[in-house]
């Protein structure tokens, strides 16, 4: 790996550790939903994809990043603190009485564009911003990160058709395809596959990537500002729910809760072991 690739991988580890620490301390938070998105977020925020200015969160030329799967808020808060949108000590107050944010995403936190927690909203709002940007001939891009379970919401497909029909090629959706919902695997609940076909049928350009390969994600988005297509782009990023902490992976029981006591210790050990292996 190149030096920058190593530092991005380290960043992933650091963010996973922060998410785990925040949620264990708070005794709440969606740890596993955050972990599946870590490498996607590292690619966006540290891999040179997103344009943002922590000194000026409302900078009009910023790319808009809309975390639609608002349950991954601990991850976005960790990223925003780490990149300087607010003091890192705020993470210690996650879901605490004196803290400024909690389990689901809150729009008034610096660097956050949209309240989320209720699913199926982010893509439509992102499409609205993207449409407004085209009307005003603004050059910024709009990115949104969706959960795969969120794609059960009908509004996602209303927005998907709208975005393609209106040629919103300044809009990028990333689906965190971790295959797991609250109670079961998506393919056992109601099959979401073939997911690529669904997006393509709605009129989108579709790429499928390994959602834990920062390099692949960065490459897939590297020329996103100068695509010749009029279509919006969706990246279906195959991931593992709980990635990085093996004892929390692929088990629905860990949806929406933080490990406590011995489970928390075990999670820390798993994370360290994984880091040691790499």
């Amino acid at each position: 790996m190149s030096g920058s690739a190593v530092s991005l991988k380290n960043k992933s580890y650091e963010l996973r550790k922060r998410v785990l620490d925040m949620c264990v301390k708070a005794g709440t938070g969606h740890v596993t939903s955050s972990l599946s998105s870590v490498d996607i977020m590292v690619a966006l925020y540290y891999g040179g994809i997103l344009k943002y200015d922590p000194e000026n969160p409302q900078w009009s030329g910023r790319d808009r990043f809309i975390l639609s799967k608002g349950q991954a808020s601990p991850l976005l808060y960790a990223v925003l603190a780490d990149t300087g949108f607010f003091d890192i000590s705020e993470l210690d107050r996650f879901a605490q009485p004196d803290g400024m944010f909690g389990v689901h995403l809150q729009w008034d936190v610096p660097g956050v564009e949209l309240t989320s927690g209720s699913l199926g909203h982010g893509l439509g709002v992102a499409a609205g911003i993207a449409l407004g940007a085209l009307m005003d001939k603004d050059l910024f891009m709009v990115f949104t990160l969706l959960g795969d379970g969120e794609c059960y919401e009908g509004s996602i497909w209303e927005s998907a058709m709208f975005a393609a029909h209106n040629k919103l090629n300044n809009l990028v959706a990333i689906v965190d395809r971790n295959y797991l919902c609250v109670t079961d695997f998506t393919e056992n609940i109601i099959a979401l596959e073939p997911m690529e076909d669904k997006w393509r049928a709605c009129g989108w350009n579709v790429k499928r990537v390994n959602g834990h390969s920062i390099k692949d994600i960065v490459e897939a988005l590297a020329y996103v500002r100068c695509r010749r297509s009029h279509k919006p782009l969706v990246l279906i990023a195959d991931t593992v729910k709980g990635e990085g902490i093996e004892c929390l992976t692929n088990n629905p029981i860990w949806h929406g809760q933080a490990p406590k006591g011995k489970d928390a210790e075990m999670a820390r050990v798993c994370l360290l072991t994984r880091q040691g292996d790499e």
Binding site: W107, E113, L114, T115, S118, G120, H121, L123, G124, V125, A126, A127, G128, I129, A130, L131, G132, A133, M135, D136, G154, S155, E158, S159, M161, F162, N166
Partner: protein
């Protein structure tokens, strides 16, 4: 008297505003009107058809508003409030993103279209959420004025438009910022009404007047209700009757009851509207037939008001 539809009065004014400001964007959930055809033809870059997809219409509107646009949504009233209620709750009420939601078909004004198109819950539901203002339109003068006011809103506004063309009761250039008007003064009793029922209330008051029952009418066209104005208007009044083409649960009468209780007002209230016992109905042949079924026809209302005054 004016024979213009509330809808056309509203959109004609929005057209004027939009022609002068390209940041004004109209999102239609596939709803048309002659006044909208003009908008669409002359200002195509500011017109978005979201299709029959109200949830997405609100989300697109929220995105455009976040980008700095002044957003107007248009669809049939029950669909643009209830189908996308959760989007309105998150984006408009929680996040306080401002937009103007114009719903056509207040109460039973879709007449023979049946209960899917009647809207009898929207005032209760929309007024239950913070950061949302409701304008229940009484006549075309008000529709145009509310359109003008909507240009500078800070919070989301729901404009409830009737399909029926009523004679105007307000003079041109009336100021509607107060949210309620005493449209007829009275002594023995006040009818407090909203939307189309204000026209009924005025007819009723005149008939009662003929029998020396001095009845006033207060038109409540904005929710939350201007409490100060109402309390002031009801000083010395012992009995009021609320009139609404809406379910009694949570509507105008409920809102008046809340004000009476919260302020210990020494006034007796009788609520006239639609009870859940009657529920939804499949009745055809026009609005009056439906009103008869619900006991909201003029004869029934007059009888109920008289009984109340005798108590």
């Amino acid at each position: 008297m004016n024979n213009i539809a509330q809808r056309d009065s509203f959109w004609n004014k929005i057209y004027e505003i939009a022609a002068a400001d390209r940041d004004v964007v109209l999102i239609s959930a596939d709803m048309g009107a002659p006044s909208l055809d003009k908008f669409r033809k002359d200002l195509p870059a500011q017109f978005v058809n979201a299709g029959i997809a109200e949830q997405n219409a609100v989300l697109i509107g929220a995105g455009l508003a976040l980008k700095g646009k002044k957003v107007y949504l248009y669809a049939i009233a029950p669909f643009i409030t209830l189908r996308c209620l959760e989007q309105i709750r998150v984006e408009c009420s929680i996040m306080t993103i401002p937009m103007t939601i114009a719903g056509v078909g207040a109460g039973m004004s879709y007449e023979d279209s049946g209960p899917t198109h009647h809207v009898l819950e929207d005032i209760a539901i929309m007024r239950s959420m913070p950061n949302i203002t409701i304008h229940n339109i009484t006549d075309s003068v008000m529709a145009g004025a509310v359109a003008g006011m909507s240009y500078n809103i800070k919070n989301t506004t729901y404009v409830r438009i009737d399909r029926q063309v009523f004679p105007d009761i307000y003079a041109p250039d009336t100021d509607f910022t107060a949210g309620a008007s005493v449209v007829k003064t009275g002594k023995d009793c006040y009818l407090v009404s909203t939307g189309c029922m204000t026209h009924t209330a005025l007819q009723l008051a005149r008939r009662l007047e003929e029998r020396n029952i001095h009845t006033g009418v207060i038109d409540i066209y904005t929710f939350p209700i201007n409490e100060e104005l109402l309390i002031d208007a009801l000083r010395g009044v012992k009995k009021i009757v609320s009139l609404e083409e809406h379910f009694l649960a949570g509507g105008l009468g409920s809102a008046l009851g809340e004000i009476i209780i919260d302020n210990d007002l020494p006034v007796k209230l009788r609520r006239l509207g639609i009870g859940h016992d009657k529920g939804f109905c499949y009745k055809y042949g026009g609005r009056e037939i439906i009103r008869e079924y619900y006991g909201l026809d003029k004869g029934s209302l007059e009888r109920k008001v008289e009984e109340f005054l005798k108590d």
